[in-house]
């Protein structure tokens, strides 16, 4: 039977690196891209006799993440040892949290899979816990299977991670992707994580099972690992659902397995069976003391929470009167939203004009020049100044684009660019008359069209004058001059 006759049940486990300067249990730097084994010390190398001490900021960021995901915050919590052998884990155990996660029982809201796409769906967050990252292995040969040895870099060992576990509330690959996008937005907004999938600071595993529509019990699930983009998550879940549907259709059983997503073939491949999965023998880590998180600490952090994307979106529509589409796009990135708000604050005109320029020229140049918003040379004041030069008739809209680009590249004051390059708009009728006459003479066909009643053709003539004056003519004055000349 077709996949549509099954309900896909998806739960996600997301690991996000916390944005701290130093590691979670020692003072080594967390900076990305350093020379191998240059940011390591006895603690994160797992040498005997060393003592981990918790980074306060890592704890605060974990609580912030919990607040952003509407979680409850545990009053009493602490760390446990998760024990397994793997070369990237030098101590033989990972410091993690077992039965006392710092945050639990939360939710985030995403757009559900209904046809008009307006229904909001609540996806449960089971828990958010704090743990340490492992080291990085580089396998010799073409892959882990034919490698004769592996190389280990422990720079990542001990970087603080949060693991966010969703409830199995997601019902389609698209919903899973939207969940991740919203999660990423929330973590970026709160400054909890950079969420750079390409640097491994955001990673996702998915638990997928199927059941016939109408069935209330869950089916047997498989875990998929190794998906390194949102697109891959969507594709891998779809592929896994199809694989399970084929098995069920053939009257076979789905075996509980861990499977890996293979980007090249677009399939999931068997990694290990769940029955043989390790027994982690969690135990409270005797090297670390327990944590008591009081309400005062939580409230102080709550006050530090920035306005969330959803709140911004609503405020933009209601107070700034910009369209829903603009509000959604701009509030999607905290940096973009803050830049937009700074421009609106110093510009006295409608916010809609600002959102047009932000989504148009500004983002076009940001993408084209590959610069980060916070590094843009054009300050919000200069941005507003360009808009004001258009508003007061100093320059035309088309010249403004060129000026904007120049300010974007150089950070030079817009007014001085206009003066230096002589870009001021020509509104003087006498000055424009000669050009208008010349255009009328050179375009007899268009003139005939206008005279015979096709008033739209006048736009063409205005355009020709603008071209002739390199965009500096005041189009209103040109329009009036043409109308006078052609007797309209």
């Amino acid at each position: 039977m077709p996949l549509e006759d099954y309900e896909i049940i998806i739960g996600l486990e997301v690991h996000a690196e916390l944005k701290t300067e130093s590691k979670v249990f020692c003072g080594c730097s967390t900076k990305f891209g350093a020379q191998p084994n240059s940011q390591v010390c006895p603690v994160c190398l797992g040498l005997p006799g060393t003592l981990p001490v918790l980074n306060k900021r890592a704890l605060e960021l974990t609580i912030l993440a919990g607040l952003a995901l509407n979680c409850k915050i545990a009053e009493h919590t602490g760390f446990d040892r998760k024990q397994y052998f793997y070369p990237d884990l030098p101590k033989g155990y990972q410091i993690s949290q077992f039965d006392r996660p710092i945050c639990y029982d939360g939710f985030i809201e995403i757009l559900a899979d209904d046809r008009d796409g307006n229904e909001v769906k609540r996806v449960g967050i089971n828990r958010v816990h704090l743990e340490e990252e492992s080291g990085k292995s580089v396998h010799s040969g073409t892959g882990i299977l034919d490698s004769s040895y592996s190389l280990l870099d422990y720079n990542r060992s001990g970087i603080p991670l949060i693991e966010i576990v969703s409830e199995p509330d997601l019902r389609s690959p698209q919903e899973a992707r939207r969940f991740l996008e919203e999660l990423k937005r929330l973590l970026e907004y709160t400054g909890v994580s950079d969420c750079k999938m390409e640097e491994g600071s955001l990673r996702c595993d998915a638990n997928v099972s199927l059941r016939k529509r109408g069935e209330t019990r869950f089916g047997v699930k498989c875990e998929i690992k190794n998906m390194n983009s949102f697109r891959a998550v969507e594709a891998a879940i779809l592929h896994e659902a199809e694989r399970q549907a084929e098995l069920l259709d053939a009257g076979e059983q789905v075996e509980p397995q861990t499977r890996g997503w293979d980007e090249l073939t677009g399939t999931t491949v068997f990694m290990r069976s769940k029955e043989s999965s390790s027994d982690y023998r969690y135990l409270p880590d005797p090297d670390l003391v327990d944590l008591v998180i009081d309400a005062g600490m939580v409230e102080a952090l709550r006050e530090n929470l920035p306005e969330m994307p959803g709140q911004k979106r609503r405020r933009y529509v209601e107070e700034l009167k910009i369209p829903e589409y603009d509000a959604e796009l701009i509030s999607g990135s905290r940096n973009l939203a803050e830049y937009f708000e700074s421009v609106v604050a110093v510009y006295n005109g409608p916010a809609k004009i600002v959102s047009n320029w932000v989504m148009g020229e500004f983002l076009r140049l940001i993408n084209q020049e590959k610069v980060e918003i916070e590094d843009a040379k054009i300050s919000p004041e200069e941005f507003a100044a360009v808009l004001r030069l258009v508003d007061n008739g100093t320059i035309s809209g088309s010249v403004a684009k060129g000026v904007f680009e120049e300010v974007f590249r150089t950070g030079e004051d817009p007014e001085s660019i206009v003066k230096r390059q002589g870009l001021a708009q020509i509104s003087d009728a006498d000055e424009l008359s000669a050009v208008v006459d010349g255009i009328i003479e050179a375009n007899p066909k268009a003139v005939e069209d206008v005279k015979s009643g096709n008033h739209k053709a006048i736009g063409f003539l205005v355009g020709q004058v603008m071209k002739e004056t390199k965009g500096q003519a005041n189009p209103k004055v040109v329009n009036q001059l043409l109308r006078d000349r052609l007797g309209l």
């Binding site: 701290t20 300067e21 130093s22 020692c26 003072g27 080594c28 730097s29 020379q35 191998p36 084994n37 240059s38 940011q39 390591v40 010390c41 006895p42 190398l45 001490v53 918790l54 980074n55 306060k56 900021r57 890592a58 704890l59 602490g78 024990q83 052998f85 793997y86 070369p87 292995s137 580089v138 396998h139 882990i144 299977l145 490698s147 004769s148 040895y149 592996s150 190389l151 280990l152 870099d153 422990y154 890996g260 491949v269 068997f270 990694m271 290990r272 390790s278 027994d279 023998r281 135990l283 409270p284 005797p286 670390l288 003391v289 327990d290 944590l291 008591v292």
Partner: protein, 98 residues
């Protein structure tokens, strides 16, 4: 609930130890002896006492988020049985078993 040789083999497997049949039997005996001894603690009435995993009455020991000097790469690698350039080198890892 006495430990069986199977339990001992499972524990040994998790610790990457290989035991002969005789050893498994003999360790089961010694471990059961230790467990019996520790079981004496069950005689204490702990009703109404919160479980604890540590004796030090300390909580919330934290450090500020400040970068401190790391070891040099040479120092970090100085005790490694095998290395390659700036890396620790270990025997092949094989977890995928298709």
């Amino acid at each position: 609930m006495a430990l069986t040789a199977d339990d001992v083999n499972q524990i040994a497997r998790l610790a990457r130890l290989s035991l002969s049949e005789n050893e498994a039997e003999s360790f089961a005996g010694s471990l059961n002896g230790i467990l019996d001894y520790v079981q004496k603690i069950d005689e204490v009435d702990t009703g109404g006492v919160e479980p604890t995993s540590r004796v030090a009455r300390l909580s919330n020991v934290v450090r500020e988020d400040r970068v401190e000097p790391s070891l040099s790469t040479e120092e970090a690698l100085s005790n490694a049985p095998d290395k390659s350039g700036e890396y620790f080198r270990v025997p092949r890892v094989l977890e995928i078993n298709e």
